[in-house]
Symmetry: C2
Subunit: 229 residues, 2 copies
DNA sequence: CTTTTGTATTCTGTATGCAGCATTTTTTGT
DNA sequence: ACAAAAAATGCTGCATACAGAATACAAAAG
């Protein structure tokens, strides 16, 4: 087995040069976050510093720092004298998060209609068209990714940094849930229709309509995942 | 001036063993947060690990972990190879945060009217009465603290953990700003009047009214601090 | 006098070592 | 054989040590 862990190698594996271009801290945080989101580390799992560190090829010190960072993000929980465990979200937790997310996206939609430039709106439209293409070709994974990107992009249009921060945070906490919820074809179609409506409202800069669609979209999202909890 | 803060007993001290009941991590995080909020560490200041550690009587390792935690909270910024600096918020940043906070408190108010128990509402009323007493006696510091407590309490009534988390985070980021903004007597009176309205609406479980007052209250708060930026 | 370059110092980033607490296993008493 | 106590194991929490990067300083060249 290759002793140099994947963490310390460049992602694209291109030629020689500095092994590390991004700070190890960020890399570690991202990697751990992905492991949690993708279920490599299930909720309730203890984050074993020694073992995990060896597995990733780093010593305990930077690993602990990354864990503390994630704890502040709310993905893991720190238990005194006992380390960190992956946080477990109840159905109510998820519903609560979606309630907040809904309100925030409604706000973002309204702000976006007010302050976004035409060019930026065209950019979102482009993402949307890509997403539709993925829908038609049945590329679920890419669809899912673009879906998230679109929502983030709309939040970005609002040009409110705090709103962006919190949105990302909530999206991250929910990602693991959504990762599971694979809705059936008819629900999928409904979601796509909602997206069509969204982009139309945005292009028309119709604040109220956009907010309403965004809210409904998330409400339906809750409906789609509630069974799988 | 007491230079040695009692974060931890020094090993060379001959006194009885250091009594550590709360985890050092939490203590450090809270202490650093306070230092930032109260202006001991001004925006733009570099967090000097060696010096700061010696000052607080802890080694660099737990200090760094606390800093990473605060970085995730958004109070400090991590610059690769250069450590951490206290984050500086522009006037627009503050306005953006207040915009989000406003929306969240409106949501919290509506939810609170729906799900809060009568007993809990009585509890908020008690805080309110205390605060009024502080207003009449001119105790600004305690007034300020109770003010925050009331807002947090209303959010608490909504029984939405995610909402609570985010609210605390935004309040924390804004605390330092508010710490500066000392409004004059007439504005203070206006704020108190708004609080009276709030508690009335809450006791009547009047969702829309409570949301409206909370929103107006924060909008005015922005007016009160905008000059001092 | 200004600019540049080489050197020294300081600070961050990471690894390692040690002590204390938790938990589990073994031992002992009934 | 079973329960309780005691020892042993493993892990976390903190401190220290070391290496590399960045900055500050100084000397030399233009």
């Amino acid at each position: 087995m290759d002793e140099t862990s994947a963490l310390q190698r460049r992602p694209d594996g291109t030629g020689p040069g500095p092994i590390r271009r991004t700070a190890l801290h960020d890399t570690l945080v991202n990697h751990l976050r992905d492991m949690i989101i993708e279920g490599d580390l299930e909720p309730g799992t203890r984050l074993h510093e020694g073992q995990l560190g060896e597995q990733l090829g780093v010593s305990r010190t930077p690993l602990r720092e990354a864990i503390k960072y994630l704890a502040s993000e709310g993905l893991v929980e720190l238990v005194p004298s006992r380390g960190a465990v992956v946080k477990r979200f109840s159905a109510k937790d998820v519903k609560d998060m979606l309630t907040v997310l809904r309100t925030l996206e409604e706000l973002a939609g309204k702000l976006a209609c007010e302050v976004a430039s035409d060019k930026d709106i065209v950019g979102v439209r482009a993402l949307h068209d890509q997403m539709i293409a993925c829908y038609k070709s049945g590329d679920r994974l890419q669809y899912y990714k673009l879906n998230q990107d679109i929502h983030s992009a709309i939040v970005g249009l609002s040009q409110n940094a705090a709103l962006g921060d919190i949105h990302i945070m909530l999206q991250t906490r929910l990602k693991r849930i959504r990762f599971i919820g694979h809705e059936g074809p008819e629900k999928w179609a409904a979601a796509v229709a909602e997206h069509e409506e969204m982009i139309t409202a945005l292009e028309a800069r119709d604040k109220e309509r956009l907010a309403e669609v965004l809210g409904r979209h998330l409400f339906n999202a809750w409906d789609r995942v509630r069974d799988s909890l």
